[in-house]
């Protein structure tokens, strides 16, 4: 979904082959194979290997998934028509409904919270020579490149009954609060959420800080001249200047929140009970532990639609901001 501008410009940059052919003068009625068209056929040949693999690995299963979502299938015996039954599960199935609620909760921790923290950090460092900015940047961005499976293992230990979080709490006299965080029906979900905030914060901060460097300095000077304090300066200059970055971050973190799997699966497997279950965990269980393949595919289709919708809406918002 990268840069929005690039996509819209591609349309105008497309050469109109028809025109070249029509302009071929001498023989009316015969469409000459212009060099440009030959070139574009050659282009297709260069693209062909990638396209074939893509069609087999992405397009074909996407189509099959859509089809299967209208059937009941256990993965072995023959499938039977289900109509919309797999989709109505989103309304009737308690586990699935709970998973959707958790997604909304995760959006708060994976998207909203890191964005707020990122904006504050960017505002604080905007236009100020923070010495060692490069160092802060590399450290704060680090979680982005760590293996998610490792991150999951690390947080599992941090939240363990005899883990460092409880040691710290005990050390500062709050031992009463200590618990096995991930085994707790109330606290497991926010605990996993905070791990997500930890991972996403770096991306937000680095992108926003880079964004503030592109805001013209005169805007800040003008705001100061008008007597704006840091807060008003933030809302009138910094925030509007970061709309493009905000769009990228929103897309990435929202998509991340929608598809959370690794950290949940490797720590709680959705438990205790179903208190940390997510749509992708339900999808995995339906597909493989007790196969109800149609239901799993319906979850996949809904995830895909929601993801597409999020990407498109955010892109539209950003385009609107550009104008």
């Amino acid at each position: 979904m990268a840069t929005v501008k690039d996509r819209s410009s591609s349309r105008t940059a497309l050469p109109d082959t028809g025109a070249a052919d029509r302009d071929a003068p001498s023989r009316p009625g015969i469409r000459l194979r212009s060099p440009r068209r030959r070139r574009r056929l050659l282009g297709l040949a260069y693209l062909a290997p990638a396209l074939l693999i893509y069609a087999y690995v992405v397009l074909l299963p996407a189509g099959q998934g859509l089809q299967l979502s209208f059937y009941h299938w256990d993965g072995v015996t023959s499938a039977s028509w289900a109509g919309l039954a797999n989709y109505t599960g989103f309304l009737t199935d308690a586990t699935l409904r709970q998973a959707v609620t958790h997604t909304l909760f995760f959006i708060l921790f994976f998207s909203v919270l890191p964005i707020i923290l990122g904006l504050i950090s960017a505002a604080l460092t905007a236009r100020k020579d923070v010495r060692g900015a490069g160092f802060y940047r590399s450290v704060i961005f680090l979680p982005q490149v760590l293996t998610p499976a490792v991150v999951a293992v690390v947080w599992k230990q941090i939240y363990a009954p005899d883990g460092p979080l409880n040691s710290v709490l005990t050390a500062v006299g709050l031992g009463g609060l200590a618990r096995g965080w991930l085994g707790d029906f109330t606290w497991a979900l926010p605990a996993l959420g905070l791990a997500g905030t930890w991972a996403a914060y770096g991306l937000c901060m680095v992108l926003f800080v880079a964004g503030t460097h592109t805001i013209p300095g005169e805007l800040y000077d003008a705001a100061r001249m008008d007597g704006a304090g840091p807060v008003r300066e933030f809302f009138t200059v910094t925030l509007p200047g970061l709309r493009g970055q905000l769009a990228v971050v929103l897309t990435l973190t929202l998509l991340g929140a929608i598809r959370v799997f690794d950290i949940v699966w490797l720590t709680t497997k959705g438990g205790p009970g179903t208190s940390t279950i997510t749509p992708t965990v339900v999808l995995y269980q339906r597909a493989f532990t007790n196969p109800d393949v149609g239901a799993a595919c319906a979850i996949g289709v809904v995830l895909a639609l929601v993801s597409l919708l999020v990407s498109l809406v955010v892109v539209k918002l950003a385009e609107g901001a550009d104008r």
């Binding site: 450290v139 979680p143 230990q157």
Partner: protein, 270 residues
């Protein structure tokens, strides 16, 4: 321009956040060299043998081999396809581009979770589950969209006059790609290779579903199995975790700029 107090406050805030981000990383590093199997930090008695012991107990030699085979092949193939398709879209033009390019972009937007279930049953029918070919094919296929998108942008940034003058000299499309375009686009290729390496090395979900045979599983699944054992030695688990992260972190230390630029451009893999 800004007051001293403001400056102190800013540094304190940033430092607190940096410490918060670093804490889990430093803690796991510390535990990885501590002797206590319950995972208590003890930096007075560093026990470096934890790494070797963790390696042995988790059976990492086999997992490492799988990780290397999968990542090496998938990254190479993805890069070749990215260059070819980016060249096609960015320089040559493609018949049906108006349809084909959006179709490829679709792959960036839909999450792999949405297609993994039918893909698993397809692979099962073709005998591709539990094979290197299968998991590699899946990684490559899901990397196509971003690769085409990324390299197209890189090739489009090359001034057309350079390509035209090479064409005047009679270079065909293949020599032009190798002699003219690839050398100029080398930084973009490097970024793509790094991101592709990171995504493939770090993958857990795809391998979890497509590879259930431990002798073909990558290290991330090896870690999952190790951490799921009944009696976990936390310090060994920490050591194993550190070892898995190491290749990507080392690359990150050297190529920070490329990683950050690539990921900030909105790069995601399927």
């Amino acid at each position: 321009m800004i007051s001293k107090r403001e400056k102190v406050f800013n540094y304190t805030f940033l430092t607190l956040l940096a410490v918060g981000v670093l804490f889990p990383v430093l803690w796991i590093l510390g535990v990885a060299v501590s002797p206590d199997i319950a995972g208590t930090l003890d930096l007075r008695h560093l026990q470096w043998s934890n790494f070797a012991e963790a390696w042995r107990q988790a059976g990492f030699t086999g997992y490492l081999k799988s990780s290397l085979v999968i990542t090496g092949t998938a990254v190479t193939a993805s890069t070749v396809l990215a260059v070819l398709s980016g060249y096609a879209f960015g320089v040559l033009g493609v018949v049906g581009e108006r349809v084909l390019f959006p179709v490829l972009l679709f792959g960036i937007m839909i999450p792999m979770e949405a297609i993994i279930v039918p893909l698993y049953y397809d692979f099962q029918a073709q005998g591709l589950t539990d094979t290197y070919q299968g998991i590699i094919l899946a990684h490559v296929g899901m990397g196509v969209s971003f690769g085409a998108f990324w390299m197209r942008a890189a090739f489009r940034a090359v001034p057309p006059s350079i390509g035209e003058s090479a064409q005047m000299d009679g270079a065909n499309s293949w020599t032009m790609l190798w002699r003219v375009y690839l050398p100029i686009a080398r930084p973009a290729v490097l970024t793509f290779v790094l991101l592709s390496f990171m995504w493939t090395w770090n993958d857990y979900f795809l391998s979890l579903i497509l590879v259930s045979d431990p002798s073909h599983q990558p290290m991330t699944l090896g870690l999952g199995a190790f951490s799921g054992r009944y009696l976990v030695h936390v310090n060994l688990l920490a050591a194993a975790a550190v070892l898995i992260c190491l290749p990507v972190v080392v690359l990150y230390l050297f190529f920070q700029r490329q990683f950050i630029r690539g990921m900030l451009s909105g790069a995601v893999k399927g």
